[in-house]
């Protein structure tokens, strides 16, 4: 190969190696910056394994929606509309196959399982990464919070045009990372 071409290709590759992660950052920053903040109740999850590696797996309800599932495949995008209760907590409401208009409250999810007229979805914000040393403590705190009815575990999620970013997980209004530090 011509030396010049090698250098051009290498430069292009270097650029791509910046742009791909850069684009990921850009997209997420835009959601955090301009997206609306929603608060979701985190559901108690299997207490034997809430931690996988260095992240907390969050579980939300409902996972299953009744919908016209004909033509749907696993992995297809679907749209979940939201409604907010008087406490400021958002709840998933309906599953739509077409993207709602941009002023609607909704997020984009993927079909995880299909069962007749029932569609199970994968929430796009069900992972909360933690620092390694805090992980075990966070796990304990996480578990305790579920036995304490007064303390709600809430996921803070920013959503912009259906795209979501999980910003924080709070128990009784305090960030899980902060709680694990104490």
């Amino acid at each position: 190969m011509n030396k010049k071409i090698v250098w051009i290709l290498f430069a292009l590759l270097c650029l791509a190696q910046w742009i791909v992660p850069g684009k990921m950052i850009w997209d997420k920053e835009e959601i955090i910056e301009n997206g609306r903040e929603y608060r979701f109740l985190v559901q108690p999850i299997d207490p034997s394994d809430p931690m996988r590696g260095k992240y907390v797996v969050l579980s939300f309800n409902p996972r299953t929606f009744i919908a016209e599932s004909e033509g749907l495949k696993i992995g297809d995008p679907v749209y979940i509309t939201l409604y907010e209760d008087s406490d400021g907590i958002s709840h998933p409401f309906e599953l739509k196959l077409d993207r709602p208009d941009e002023y609607a409250d909704y997020f984009e999810a993927q079909v995880e399982r299909l069962n007749g007229g029932e569609v199970d979805i994968a929430y796009p914000f069900d992972r909360f990464y933690m620092e390694e040393s805090k992980a075990p403590r966070a796990e304990a705190i996480f578990r305790e919070s579920f036995s304490d009815v007064a303390q709600e575990t809430v996921a803070i999620v920013h959503i912009l045009q259906g795209k979501a970013v999980l910003k924080d997980v709070q128990i009784g209004g305090v960030s899980l990372a902060e709680l694990a530090e104490e």
Binding site: W18, K134, V165, K167
Partner: protein, 418 residues
């Protein structure tokens, strides 16, 4: 390479002049110095792997007290540093293999670490296969830009992981097309490696990684007609053995095709000596249908094409014929399962005796013991699906075991005698 004495001999015999002798000597010296030092390359790559993996582990710690913007900036530091290093290696020139291979390893691992860190910072749940695919796409160009064998091997690893993850775990029965695409992209590099450096360690590794990767991923074709995968794997093993005739290394380690191909033939033939195997074949809903069936036919035809392309049909015809015989047996077994099972048992025994005899005749212990191994595998397997008394089973084993010892002892004595 000629020794000094040989050169002097040629000069004194008047075949070449003193000047020519000096030129030849200089040529070989030059060649020697150009040949990369294998140990240096190995340590260079090992060092780069350790540093790269170290960076990934540091990233995995997930530094909570750093702000988001600091973390994102840190994510790019290893990438940019390694890019500069690869650039420097390219500037120094292609023949600096150690420098190129080790910096490329560093860059590939840094790119992975960077993406992992970004996923952590923004809590991106994405599947591992999407992550792998992006990583592979950002690394694959290095194979050709830097002529890097390590890049090729790492991309093969990544794409195999991707293919298996998509094919076996997700989205029921979806074929990982991208896997085959990347394999096709890597093939020209592999071909060049075989042509230019047939004896290089990197080429030898490719002889293992390529068939290994395809063998691991072929199973994703399995859907409703999964049992057709057995003759498909048999055909793949035959293709490996056809290629093995071409590769022919000095040791088994140098010929991954031979080892993998033979292992495939051995395992599938052994499975077909069991009655459950033929029960399943008989109970298949439809027979001549499904993508697995087409895959089997395609691979069988491919084995012939490969052999024709390599012009080694005379050497490899035994494998190709065996492959087609197995395919015929498979079809035959659909209607006459018991006969097919008996034939499979006989074929396996024949193979065992063949290697036993060939090994004994040529005095090669490994070959002879392979024969023993095959016979023992068949006998052992028959004890699972038959109702022979324990006494008889015990006796048969004692006899085979004694024959095994006696034959080995005899052969070793013969060798010592020689």
């Amino acid at each position: 390479m000629l020794t000094k004495e040989e050169l002097e001999e040629l000069v004194s015999a008047g075949i070449i002049s003193q000047e020519k002798a000096a030129e030849i000597d200089a040529y070989f010296h030059q060649k020697e110095s150009e040949r990369p030092n294998r140990i240096l390359i190995a340590f260079g790559i090992l060092g780069a792997l350790l540093v790269g993996l170290g960076i990934i582990l540091l990233v995995a710690h997930n530094w909570d007290h750093l702000s988001r913007s600091v973390k994102t900036m840190i994510a790019f530091v290893p990438v940019i540093t390694s890019q500069v290093l690869v650039g420097y290696a390219l500037w120094k020139g292609r023949h600096h293999r150690t420098l190129i291979e080790s910096t490329v390893v560093l860059l590939i691992l840094s790119v992975g670490a960077c993406m992992a860190l970004v996923s952590q910072i923004y809590n991106i749940p994405g599947t591992i296969s999407t992550f792998m695919m992006t990583w592979v796409l950002l690394s694959a160009p290095l194979v050709y830009i830097a002529h890097s064998s390590m890049a090729s091997l790492l991309v093969l690893l990544g794409i195999t992981y991707y293919g298996m993850d998509v094919g076996y775990n997700h989205r029921g029965g979806q074929l990982p097309y991208a896997y085959w695409g990347i394999i096709l992209v890597l093939l020209p590099y592999y071909w060049k490696l075989i042509k230019d450096y047939p004896k290089s360690n990197f080429t030898v590794f490719h002889h293992w990684f390529f068939p290994g990767s395809i063998a691991l991923t072929l199973g994703v074709f399995g859907a409703e007609q999964e049992f057709w995968l057995f003759p498909a794997y048999m055909s793949l093993s035959v293709i490996c053995l056809v290629l093995a005739e071409k590769v022919r290394g000095e040791s088994l380690f140098q010929n991954g095709y031979q080892v993998l191909g033979f292992a495939g033939v051995f395992i599938i033939l052994l499975l077909s000596t069991f009655d459950f195997f033929w029960d399943e074949v008989r109970e298949m809903d439809r027979f001549f249908a499904g993508r697995e069936f087409i895959l089997t036919l395609a691979l069988s035809v491919l084995s012939v094409i490969v052999s024709l392309l390599l012009k080694n049909i005379s050497k490899s015809s035994k494998w190709i014929i065996s492959g087609f015989l197995f395919l015929t047996l498979f079809v035959f077994g659909r209607y006459f399962p018991t006969i097919a099972q008996v034939v499979a048992n006989l074929a396996m025994m024949f193979l065992g005796v063949f290697y036993l005899r060939a090994g004994a005749r040529t005095g090669r212990l490994a070959k002879m013991n392979l024969g023993f191994l095959i016979i023992m595998a068949v006998v052992l397997s028959r004890f699972f699906d038959s109702e022979i008394s324990f006494v008889l089973r015990g006796l048969i084993f004692v006899i085979i075991g004694m024959a095994f010892f006696a034959a080995n002892y005899y052969m070793m004595k013969q060798k010592a005698h020689e």
